[in-house]
Symmetry: C2
Subunit: 198 residues, 2 copies
């Protein structure tokens, strides 16, 4: 019998998210996804070549959500130092909220991220690209000393890892972490404002 709604990659991804949410990354199976959609698992394989590809697509979708809000900050008109602090704060706040609101779901996506390092690497490139935009405009306006924007963006990303890398999620509920974040931001912003690195 033909389905009421056609089976699309998007509907499959939605069902996969739901199944992952309900069963967790270890127990979620393609059969579960098919069952949730009321189709046979063979049909799922018509749209995603492997279970890994399906999970990768879900991972990508999840990571892409993070881009939008931050992208707006990176291209705003405020002074670069302010935009940079806002951007890093927004990233930290978003991650911390997700980790705190639903730790299980966060752990699920952490597991997905761990098995899709290439997708994560692409996500990080997008993120450091936004940081580079801020640094570049700061240099152009004379706020920051001239420097290699991409190298600096990567350094900013690396140096703030404790406040966005999910492996540290357990520490984000510690009240002192806000202070630590402030201290690192101060140091980094100070470093940008100072005279150029030789």
């Amino acid at each position: 019998m033909p389905p009421e709604t056609p089976l699309t990659p998007d509907r499959i991804l939605e069902a996969t998210e739901e199944v992952l949410r309900r069963y967790g990354p270890a127990k979620a199976t393609v059969v579960d996804v098919a069952r949730a959609l009321g189709v046979s698992h063979g049909s799922v394989y018509r749209h995603f070549r492997t279970k890994a590809a399906l999970r990768e697509a879900v991972t990508e979708r999840w990571l892409d959500q993070a881009h939008d809000q931050l992208s707006a900050i990176s291209r705003a008109g405020a002074p670069a130092a302010e935009r940079l602090r806002d951007w890093l704060s927004a990233l930290f706040a978003a991650k911390r909220r997700k980790a705190g609101d639903d730790p299980e779901l966060f752990a699920t996506y952490l597991a997905l991220a761990a098995e899709n390092s290439a997708t994560v690497a692409r996500h990080i490139e997008t993120m450091t690209g936004q940081l580079a935009t801020i640094v570049e405009s700061g240099v152009a306006r004379g706020e920051f000393a001239p420097r290699d924007a991409h190298r600096t963006a990567r350094a900013l990303w690396d140096a703030t890892g404790r406040f966005h890398d999910p492996v540290y999620a357990a520490e984000w509920s510690d009240p002192q972490v806000e202070t630590a974040f402030g201290a690192v931001c101060d140091l980094l912003l100070n470093g940008l404002r100072a005279q150029a690195v030789p």
Copy 2:
């Protein structure tokens, strides 16, 4: 029969390290340690109340090794900026060497560290204490702008996490990581030299 050599905590720790090295953290048992020492496992429990206490003692011993070399650098007479860079480089090099030379042993100690967070926290306090010493002397000599040495030391530790936290060990074999380390160091040292954070 009385043993040829008396059973001491130190001998037990040595045997435990050997057993951990041979069997890994998941398979190493107290019975294995006792067997390696030629005693009954009951004897081991006369010196360490639980298996967890034994593993914690091994963890502490391992972490303490790291202190000595770095401590010398932190108290040397060189300019603070140079000492700081040397200290961070030495820490990174030591960790990277350990991770690269014997990944299995490194993974073993990583597992031990994960189950002894209080011991690790004490280790980190010692480390940031050494960083604070460098910062303090840099401020005293006028190399660095005045600042809270401990807060700054913690920020330096946090910001360089990617280059000493074992969770990132897999990335340390990437040739680009040296560049990334240099970029973060440049930014941080620049931040210290610049005028004080308000």
